[in-house]
Symmetry: C2
Subunit: 305 residues, 2 copies
């Protein structure tokens, strides 16, 4: 399972209907967060994502609406007796954040927290996937993130294996895992019985940014791009000044990169009555663009080509 | 108008239905907050208390669930162009909180913030009322607050004034404001035409605490006591250890102090299904006890005796 749940889809000013930025990614038994705005812990409770399997929080930048949920979430997990360490990744200032965060109050911590600063291009390896940091353009140190699954071995061709004389059983497993086996002196190699490696899935999250090459390039063929779309195109000038992206600009970037699905988020409070103008700008260019809503959940299917 | 609105009634662990601690007090055109847990800014939007008339935040203590809404609220008010200064009062650690809070991220502030440490007994004078700090018992530096209106002048006895020969008009106003007037050589003093001074109203908020003398004493005759009632009486031992109050203990204290209204708050997440056990403990002793609910609003009538 690879599931993306939107916990906070609002802009810099939250509204009664949109929380500050936070996205939960559930993969297998693991949970990670991209950004963690104020109120994320309650949004996690409402979305039933759980908390204890949270391994990492990835912070795009240190504006208030992307970080203020972190201390409360940490205190709540400690109250619940968490023992497993937590790692919080982010751009420059991550370590300073870590050093001051717990001075704001009296905390009773039960687990260790590591604060790790990432530079563009750095990857964190989670075994079956990596999370890569990508420089973005928001006027302060900022990065976006790509969750990239590693290739899976190709499909196992059972008929071919039997034809080559491999008996059903343990040798099948060894070939599937990419090991060669020896049969009556003949060496059978995995490439004889496996199809081409199957690509993993890719999710890209821009955080707050102007449209930029880093996100465009990493998004090539992504299964899902979640992009800043704070404003409609008639606010293009303000988007430029405030270092955000318009819905039309995000759609154009998604089209250029050939992403399979586009979700627009970080919706300005000025669209709290209706997001139609955002939708119109985006769908004109990328017809399947989706405006993020609180608790929207998207499952990314395996690629089996 | 003197109105109390509950913005966060949960305990140390918020739930999907109860936010961390925050209470809005609206009086005339002014707004103050008692505590400001995570998510308070959105709760203020939902309760339509407004934000820009907020003059002061009073913090009872520096546990996460009472303070983490402060930085986000500040950033939101700055985005909205606030110019008026804000004062944040609290016990020891208030200044340290102030010095680290803004280092957690990049803030664009448009107004000044003062961080003021209060000791028990200190009063902040707002003209027609004061807010007094009262030492409480929570295991870390902690204070509760009493909002105490000053006495208002007694009722003006118009018949008596006319009998004394005072003509209707400006002299009435001077007498009502407590000034003497001279009529044909006779001095008429305010006490001749005014009833006894009318007492102001009093609201007490305990914050998190064991039952304590400070809160009991200041609550004598209070119009409203809002008290920690984290647990039911069968959890008395844990209440003692965690330095909270049971519903029965809070009710007993309210009865002893002769308060006119009692609201129980800081409700533990263990009562998220039902608060009946809390209610039973309290009503046994103080029959009109009310369990706080999110967005509950109480108007305190003027005392006209």
């Amino acid at each position: 399972m690879l599931k993306v749940t939107f916990l906070g889809t609002g802009g810099s000013l939250p509204t009664t209907n949109r929380n500050p930025s936070a996205i939960a990614i559930q993969r297998g038994g693991e949970l990670i967060l991209f950004d963690c705005g104020e109120g994320t812990q309650q949004q996690m409770m409402r979305a039933k994502t759980g908390m204890m399997r949270l391994t990492s929080i990835f912070v795009t930048h240190f504006h208030a609406d992307h970080i203020l949920g972190i201390p409360g979430l940490i205190q709540t997990m400690a109250f619940q007796g968490r023992k497993e360490p937590l790692v919080i990744y982010g751009p420059k200032k991550m370590k300073e954040f870590g050093s001051v965060m717990l001075k704001m109050g009296y905390y009773n911590l039960t687990f260790e927290i590591d604060f790790v600063e990432l530079e563009s291009g750095m990857e964190i390896d989670f075994g079956e996937y990596v999370v890569r940091a990508i420089k973005t353009d928001h006027g302060i140190p900022s990065i976006g993130f790509a969750l990239i699954e590693k290739e899976r071995p190709g499909r196992f061709n059972k008929t071919m294996a039997l034809e080559l004389g491999v008996p059903e059983g343990r040798m099948f497993g060894r070939l599937q895992r990419g090991e060669a086996v020896t049969m009556d002196g003949n060496i059978i190699t995995p490439d004889q019985v496996l199809g081409p490696p199957r690509p993993g899935r890719k999710i890209v999250y821009s955080g707050d940014t102007r449209p930029c090459d880093g996100i465009r390039n990493i998004s090539k063929g992504a299964d899902l791009l979640v992009h800043d779309s704070s404003l409609a195109d008639d606010m293009a000038e303000w988007a430029q000044e405030s270092k955000h992206t318009t819905a039309g600009e995000a759609a154009k970037l998604a089209l250029d990169a050939g992403v399979r699905k586009l979700v627009l988020t970080h919706i300005s409070s000025r669209y709290s009555e209706s997001t139609k103008s955002l939708e119109d700008c985006a769908k004109n260019i990328y017809s399947d663009a989706i405006i993020a809503e609180e608790f929207m959940s998207i499952e990314i299917p395996l690629r089996d080509e």
